[in-house]
Structure formats: structure tokens, C-alpha cells
């Protein structure tokens, strides 16, 4: 799983069977310093509560479809959680590099 920022929504009226009612969001995968990495993707929202601007984590490949109510849907990326915080574990020497609850810029 990886972190991502939700940056938009996708509306499609004509969809493959099984995708009815599935919310589709545009996400930008992030590195662990929350800087954009890689290309933007369309992911299904398996938690039904994600929205633009939110920090989420998503799962790819076959596991994405398993996150949906019907596991036999044509979905290859799914948002499975909304991030409250990325917390350093106590004693972690790298914890301060994780950033706080806000989006950090220019780190590293």
C-alpha cells in the first residue's frame, strides 16, 4: 500500500458491469515525505468517504478489487483508508522526517 493525495473525481455514466455506484477518484501517489511521485491514477473509493484534498492510502492490483463489496469488479486501484496521521514510532530516529499532519513541502 502507498500514500496518495486525492486530487479530483471522475464521473462516468457508461461503465463496465459491476462499476455502478463505485466512486472514482483521481489520486496522486506520494512518497513518504508526501511529495508527489509517479503519475496520477484513477482509484475506486472503497471507504466511501474520501474526498479531494484528503491523504489516503491505496492498494493496487488484484487486492484492489477485493476491497470492493463485489470482489469481481474491474478495479485495479482502491482507496482503503483515510490517513489521520503518519506517526513516528517511539525511538524512531527517522521519525522527524515524516512530517506532521499537514502537507510538507521542500523536505529533504
Amino acid at each position: 500500500m502507498q500514500l496518495a493525495r486525492v486530487i479530483g473525481t471522475v464521473v462516468a455514466t457508461t461503465k463496465a458491469p459491476g462499476l455502478e455506484g463505485v466512486k472514482l477518484l483521481v489520486i496522486q501517489p506520494l512518497d513518504r515525505h508526501r511529495e508527489p511521485v509517479g503519475s496520477q491514477l484513477v482509484a475506486a473509493d472503497a471507504v466511501h468517504m474520501a474526498g479531494p484534498g484528503e491523504l489516503v492510502y491505496f492498494v493496487a492490483a488484484r487486492e484492489a478489487a477485493l476491497a470492493m463489496p463485489d470482489p469481481f469488479v474491474p478495479v485495479d486501484h482502491a482507496i482503503v483508508g483515510i490517513v489521520d496521521a503518519v506517526a513516528p514510532l517511539s525511538g524512531s530516529e527517522t521519525g522527524d522526517a515524516l512530517g506532521g499532519g499537514r502537507r510538507s513541502r521542500g523536505r529533504r
Binding site: M1, Q2, L3, D31, R32, A46, V47, M49, Y57, V59, A60, A61, R62, E63, A64, L66, A67, P71, A78, V80, G81, I82, V83, D84, A85, V86, A87, P88, L89, S90, G91, S92, E93, T94, G95, A97, L98
Partner: protein, 128 residues
């Protein structure tokens, strides 16, 4: 499987139900010499790994679901072990450290080896 260093936890309250009561660890991927290999993964903990520890990551869905005994779970990546040391001819190390140096320096970065306290018991969580 992959080697990685635990750098933090991902906390979330709104998530797929399978992630309730599970610890998600943010892990930086490492090469066998213990250096960052680039990239990271968010993995479900199964062994009680702690901060700064080098861990073994399983990044394959069917195996992960079997370990968790959760057949339909949307989980692909789990932590399956805590690495004590890596030995062998790690030829790719450009610094020229020996395998023994690498094992000592990479396995216990946070505290001295001798003073390392015993870890808490490894109870596997969430699977019955």
C-alpha cells in the same frame, strides 16, 4: 520478500473494516547491505515490529492473506519477520564494508546490540 526499515505507523479511523485493530507500518525499502533502496511500502504488522527495526516484508497477496487467515482481505503487503542480521557476500556494497560490518550496522541502528532489551512477546494479532 523484501528487506525494509520500520519508520512509522499510519493511523486511520476511516478504513476498510479489515484494517480495524491492525497496525500499519510505514517501511523504507532497503538493499541487503541495509542502505535505502528507494521507495517505501505500507505493510500490515504480524510480528510486533518496532521503530527502526529491519524487517522482512512479504509483498504478495495470496501469501499475505494466508498468513493473516483472511481469505478475502484487500491486503498484499505484510511484515513477516524481524531481521537479526544479514550475512553473506554482499558484493554490491560500494563502500567496501565486510558482510559482518554490514550485519552489525544495519540490524541494530537504534541502540547498541549488547544493550538491546528483550522485545515484547510476539503475539500474533487479528487471526484466530
Amino acid at each position: 520478500m523484501k528487506l525494509a526499515r520500520v519508520v512509522g505507523t499510519v493511523v486511520s479511523t476511516i478504513n476498510a473494516p479489515i484494517f480495524d485493530d491492525r497496525t500499519l507500518l510505514l517501511c523504507d525499502l532497503l538493499d541487503p547491505a541495509g542502505r535505502p533502496a528507494g521507495g517505501y511500502l505500507i505493510a500490515v504488522d504480524t510480528v510486533g515490529a518496532g521503530a527502526g527495526e529491519m524487517v522482512l516484508i512479504l509483498d504478495e497477496g495470496n501469501s499475505a492473506r494466508q498468513v493473516l487467515a483472511a481469505p478475502g482481505a484487500p491486503i498484499r503487503t505484510i511484515v513477516v519477520g524481524i531481521v537479526d542480521e544479514v550475512t553473506g557476500d554482499i558484493a554490491a556494497d560500494p563502500v567496501g564494508r565486510t558482510a559482518a560490518d554490514v550485519a552489525v550496522s544495519s540490524a541494530a541502528p537504534a541502540r547498541p546490540r549488547a544493550a538491546r532489551p528483550s522485545r515484547r512477546p510476539r503475539t500474533r494479532r487479528g487471526s484466530a
